[in-house]
Point group: C2
Chain length 415, copies 2
């Protein structure tokens, strides 16, 4: 779960780079990473992943082991291997800060660097930015749907590997989740860690009531999982334990299966009848923004939503439709015109106005009250202050009220 090696590269980036050097094509290029289209029903993105992408650039170097492997391939000359040995990322990077709202066609990363440097990082840039942005955006939608109720993340087991799990915990926290179940994410990023109990604890103990008593006596204020056998008797056992151990002993119950609305209502009535109005109800089980909205639209008495799989690997957005494309080379705007996937040349800036964003040529003069979205986060291979934010700053930025915005493209861009 460290920074990817320099060999985290698609072969063609290296074969192209070798030719760039051999042909003296070493002038400055501008590449932009954009999302081309949002998943259906989505209307914004939350930028994320920049910190890791910048770490990759800072640490980019080909080790002797890397070079030895490349030397064993038929494609590469000794001269190129020697060039790679000296290669460091010396370019500038501009980007929206993490936690910022972003829209399709707006650069999520803009790289200005000698052509080969900007080319070799293609795979890593897309890979390191697109997934965290996907998860942060999905998570922000769940936070919006929960309308002020806490949402917590526990999708580590279903993420695409351990690295994706840890990055997803970080991204959901930036987007406004309250906590994660992942101990590693807690250690690494300071995300608050939370947890309840698994069905296996009840099964190993054998008796649900005894299992609840044991858990509460050791962890007062804990959350009891009530659906190992049958939810209503499970809630009854939780009530029994809460009464036995007194006020505050049971903080919440968790329902993980069945019709969550009905189960939550039955549980709420049972808890309130027993004088346990302070015991909260946590719901889990494949929840995302759609299920949360549905549950709240029918007034399900759920206090906390625990989301896993559907946030860290969204079923409605397996990936973002992202691309890292050259928009200028040696001062000349360039764009491919592939049918259905045209590009827009020119280095860009995005101006955020009260009612809409304006995508314009970078060299256009600043607009009056507009804020530029792209900040310089790296200068000549070194992070700037804007590229060194804390998670708290990013999270605060994402917490600002979100509204769908219009995005306009300055006609000068299309000339």
């Amino acid at each position: 779960m460290n920074t990817p090696s320099a060999l985290f590269v698609d072969l063609y980036e290296l074969t192209m780079a070798q030719l760039y050097y051999e042909r003296g094509m070493t002038r400055e290029a501008v590449f932009e990473l954009t999302v081309r289209e949002l998943p259906e029903q989505w209307d914004y993105l939350i930028a994320s992943g920049l910190d890791r992408a910048l770490s990759f650039l800072e640490q980019l170097r080909f080790s002797e082991d890397d070079l030895e492997f490349l030397g064993s391939l038929p494609q590469f000359s000794q001269a190129f291997i020697d060039q790679l040995r000296r290669l460091r990322f010396t370019g500038d990077v501009w980007a929206p800060p993490e936690g910022a709202i972003a829209y399709p066609d707006e650069p999520l990363v803009q790289v200005i660097a000698p052509l080969a440097e900007a080319q070799i990082i293609e795979t890593a840039m897309i890979n390191q930015i697109a997934f965290p942005t996907l998860v942060a955006s999905k998570a922000a939608r769940a936070v919006d749907a929960a309308a002020g109720r806490p949402v917590i993340e526990f999708g580590g087991r279903r993420a695409h590997g351990a690295e994706a799990a840890i990055e997803a915990s970080r991204a959901t926290y930036i987007a406004g989740f309250e906590a994660t179940s992942s101990v590693e994410a807690g250690r690494r990023f300071g995300v608050p860690i939370t947890g309840t109990m698994a069905h296996s604890f009840v099964l190993a103990e054998g008796d649900e009531a005894e299992a609840f008593d044991a858990f509460v006596s050791r962890y007062p204020g804990t959350t009891l999982l009530v659906d190992t056998y049958d939810t209503q008797p499970g809630v009854a056992n939780a009530v029994r334990t809460a009464r036995r151990f007194g006020p505050g002993s049971v903080g919440a119950i968790r329902i993980d299966s069945g019709d969550l609305r009905t189960e939550a209502w039955q549980a709420r009535v049972m808890l309130d009848t027993a004088g346990l109005s302070d015991v909260r109800i946590v719901a889990s089980g494949g929840l995302d923004e759609y299920q949360i909205a549905d549950l709240l639209s029918v007034n399900a008495p759920i206090d906390i939503f625990a989301c896993g799989t559907s946030i860290v690997a969204p079923p409605d957005a397996a990936t973002l439709d992202s691309a890292y494309k050259m928009v200028e080379y040696d001062g000349r705007p360039v764009a491919k015109r592939s049918p259905g996937k045209p590009g827009i040349g020119h280095r860009k800036q995005v101006w955020r106005l009260p009612e809409h964003d304006l995508i314009a040529r970078f060299d256009e003069p600043p607009l009056g009250e507009a804020e530029p979205l792209l900040q310089q986060v790296m200068a000549a291979g070194q992070r700037t202050a804007a590229g060194s934010e804390s998670l708290t700053q990013m999270r605060a930025r994402a917490a600002v009220g979100r509204v769908p915005r219009r995005v306009e493209t300055d006609p000068s861009l299309l000339r």
Copy 2:
């Protein structure tokens, strides 16, 4: 991209483990990892990910840093921290070997270990097995659809982080893909590496014909990307370059956009007319088994399919519906009965018969001609020979003809 740390654990696994120790619940447990339901239209899985999961178990230990962090949390006693310091995985593991076909409800991993050990590895086991199995299964479907034509993988940029990218390259190779674009996967696993060129090479060069000439003169036999501007003139430029540099100079052309069937036909006619019948056509652009089948059903003259996004992060299967559940504790079968998600107790073996699989209690006598699917891959924390296979062995296993199978459950299991 190393083995996850011991803190790659959900908090509740540790709080439960502490209580297991405190309550003397240290007897042997059996946990099984299963897929509960296949994605729609799928009819089999290809088991993958075991090698990494076993590495995790072999290397499982809490470092002093890990323990210091856990000691800073309010939940854990010094006695438990000391227990974790000594903890090693001492259990047995049984599993289908990588590359084997598997079906829902069949254990993909079976862990037999002291309760706390088996519990603490829950997150890691699901995380390390489910994603590679997902990708290998999706990839095998693409191989089936391609009906003998080579399929290559270049999805690294769209995978969920660098680790997911590398694991996906490995999984697709096991499933029968011919090569990957990932240099790191090539180095780490010996997967053949392949590559073409990107639109940026043509754009930086400025002139497509010159770009093709430059590429072919440096990389004879290469693949030229013909759709940077407009595919038909692009093919015409490729023809020109192929004639100029002679037989074998252009190995293939790649079409990455537009109506692939029409573009491929037009390109095939142009190539054949120019006497370039040996130049092959590579298609790419969001391809998976469904698009491949569609293209072949209308006789698109495509020789090689290049698959990325839709294989490494399948849109029809963001995750597998997997669970790691206790099925025995201290010799007693256990199962939760949550509504809609019931389990089946008892440690199991899967018997593979010519016409179907039979899921039976592990202690049932072997069936006559049946082969046991689950092999012992780890004994007392050490890998066995069956847990130390080469990628070649796994790939050969996956290459055996696949047929949808019936899966039956021995009635003795349900008693």
